[in-house]
C-alpha cells in the first residue's frame, strides 16, 4: 500500500514538474508579455496543483492536508492577482490608459 502511495507521489510530482517546464518554455519562447503571463499562470497553477496532489499521501494528518491545499489556493490567488497587475501595466484598461497618456512621468508611486 505504501509503495502504491509512493508511486502515486512520484507520478503526480513528475507531471507537475513537467507542467512547470512547459510554463517556463512558454516564458522563454512566447512573443509578448500577455502570452507569457498566460502560459506562466495557467501552467504553474496546474503544476502546483499536481505537486500538492502528489504530496497529499505523504502527510499523515488531515491538518497537513488543509495546509497543503491552502498553499495551492493562496498561490492561485497571488498568481492571479500578479498576472492581472502585470497585464494592466502592459496594456492598461481604458480609464488607466487615458491617465497614463496624460501623465507619462507618473509611475506606480507618485
Amino acid at each position: 500500500m505504501s509503495a502504491l502511495l509512493d508511486g502515486f507521489t512520484v507520478v503526480a510530482v513528475s507531471l507537475g514538474a513537467l507542467f512547470f517546464l512547459a510554463g517556463t518554455l512558454g516564458l522563454l519562447r512566447f512573443p509578448d508579455t500577455l502570452a507569457r503571463l498566460h502560459a506562466l499562470s495557467a501552467a504553474d497553477n496546474l503544476g502546483l496543483g499536481l505537486v500538492v496532489l502528489g504530496l497529499l499521501p505523504q502527510v499523515a494528518s488531515p491538518l497537513g492536508w488543509i495546509g497543503l491545499i491552502a498553499v495551492w489556493l493562496l498561490a492561485l490567488l497571488a498568481s492571479g492577482t500578479v498576472s492581472q497587475l502585470l497585464a494592466g501595466a502592459v496594456r492598461p484598461l481604458d480609464g488607466a490608459e487615458t491617465q497614463a497618456r496624460d501623465n507619462p512621468a507618473e509611475g506606480p508611486f507618485s
Binding site: 490567488l77 492577482t81 512621468a105 509611475g107 506606480p108 508611486f109 507618485s110
Partner: protein, 323 residues
C-alpha cells in the same frame, strides 16, 4: 554521490548564478527582481541546512519585505537618473580597476572557502547543551529557547535596534512632513485586482501570523516570522490604497513600538530580584514569561517593520491628490 547531494549541488549552482545575475544585470529593475528570486531560493537552501526557522524568516523578510523595499526604491529612482559625464565611455570604474577588484574578491572568496574546508572535525557544537537544558525552559523549539531563554539579551538588543532604525528613517522627513503620513507605500491609483487581494488575503494572513507566533514555542515559527507576516498584510492593505498610512506622530502607534522592548526590559530587571540575574526567569514561570514577551514583541516588531517599509513622513497631499 547521493541524490540529495546532487540536489544540493544543483541548488548551490542556481543560487550562485542568480548572485552573478544580480551583480551583472544591466538595469536596477532586473537586479532587484533577481534578488527577490534569490531570497526565495535561499529559503530552500536553509531548509536543506536543517534550519526551518531561518528558512521562514529568510523567505518572509529577506525575499518578501526586502524585495518590496528595493522594488519600490527602484521604481522611484527611475525618475532620477544621473546625467552621464561626457568623455566616460562606460558607467563606473575602468576595466583595469574592475579586474584588480575581481582578482582581490576572488582571493577573499578562496580564503573563505579554505576556511570552510578546514573547519575542525569533530565539529564543535552547543546543540547537546541546548537539548539537555530544554525542559527547564518549557518550550520545545530549541531555536526559540536560544532566542528567548539562553540568549535573551541578543533578542532584547535586536528588538531595541529596530526603534532607532525607525527613528533614523523618520529623521529624513522634510519640515512640512514632520509628523505626517509616510509616503513609500501609497499607490498613485487603485487597481481592482490589488483591491481584491487586499480584501481577501489579510484575514487569512492575520490568522496565519498569529498561528506562527503561537506555534513557535514547540515547532518552527515564532515572533519574528509572525511579525513579518502581519507587517506584510498591513503593507498590502496600504499598497492597495484601502487605508491611509498611519500618522508618524500618533501616540498609540509610538506606544506600540516601544511597549515590546519596555516589557522585555521590565521582565529582565524583575529577574534580578526573582531569579538572581538580569533576564533570568524564575523556575516554573519560564514559559508564561516567554509567551508574554513574545506576544508584546510581535506587536512592536510588526509596527516597527511597517514604519520602516513606509518611509519618512511626508507632507499631506493637497486636494487634487498631488503634493
Amino acid at each position: 554521490m547521493t541524490i540529495s547531494l546532487v540536489v544540493d549541488i544543483g541548488l548551490a549552482l542556481v543560487v550562485l548564478s542568480l548572485a552573478l545575475w544580480i551583480i551583472a544585470a544591466t538595469t536596477v529593475y532586473r537586479a532587484v527582481i533577481g534578488f527577490i528570486v534569490y531570497g526565495l531560493l535561499l529559503a530552500i537552501v536553509w531548509v536543506r541546512l536543517g534550519a526551518a526557522d531561518v528558512a521562514l524568516t529568510e523567505a518572509a523578510l529577506g525575499g518578501g519585505l526586502t524585495g518590496l523595499l528595493l522594488l519600490g526604491a527602484a521604481a522611484r529612482l527611475s525618475h532620477h537618473e544621473c546625467v552621464p559625464v561626457f568623455g566616460r565611455p562606460a558607467a563606473g570604474p575602468v576595466v583595469g580597476f574592475r579586474l584588480l577588484v575581481g582578482i582581490l574578491c576572488t582571493l577573499i572568496a578562496a580564503g573563505l572557502a579554505a576556511v570552510v574546508l578546514l573547519l575542525p572535525e569533530p565539529a564543535p557544537s552547543l546543540a547537546s547543551e541546548v537539548a539537555s537544558n530544554l525542559p527547564a525552559t518549557g518550550v520545545g523549539n530549541p531555536v526559540t529557547a536560544v532566542l528567548l531563554a539562553y540568549r535573551a539579551i541578543d533578542t532584547l538588543l535586536e528588538a531595541v535596534v529596530l526603534v532607532p532604525a525607525m527613528i533614523g528613517v523618520w529623521s529624513l522627513a522634510t519640515d512640512q512632513g514632520w509628523s505626517g503620513r509616510p509616503g513609500f507605500l501609497t499607490p498613485a491609483r487603485r487597481t481592482s485586482a490589488l483591491t481584491l487581494l487586499a480584501q481577501v488575503l489579510p484575514p487569512v494572513g492575520i490568522v496565519f501570523g498569529i498561528h506562527l507566533f503561537w506555534i513557535g514555542a514547540d515547532h518552527p515559527g515564532g515572533k519574528f516570522q509572525a511579525a513579518v507576516v502581519l507587517a506584510a498584510m498591513w503593507a498590502l492593505v496600504l499598497l492597495a490604497g484601502l487605508r491611509e498610512p498611519p500618522r508618524v506622530g500618533s501616540p498609540p502607534l509610538r506606544l506600540a513600538v516601544v511597549v515590546g522592548p519596555l516589557v522585555f526590559i521590565g521582565i529582565g530587571v524583575s529577574g534580578i530580584w526573582l531569579a538572581d540575574a538580569f533576564l533570568a526567569y524564575p523556575a516554573g514561570y519560564a514559559k508564561p514569561m516567554i509567551l508574554a514577551i513574545e506576544a508584546v514583541l510581535t506587536l512592536s516588531i510588526t509596527v516597527a517593520l511597517v514604519f520602516l517599509l513606509a518611509g519618512p513622513p511626508a507632507a499631506d497631499r493637497s486636494a487634487d491628490g498631488r503634493r
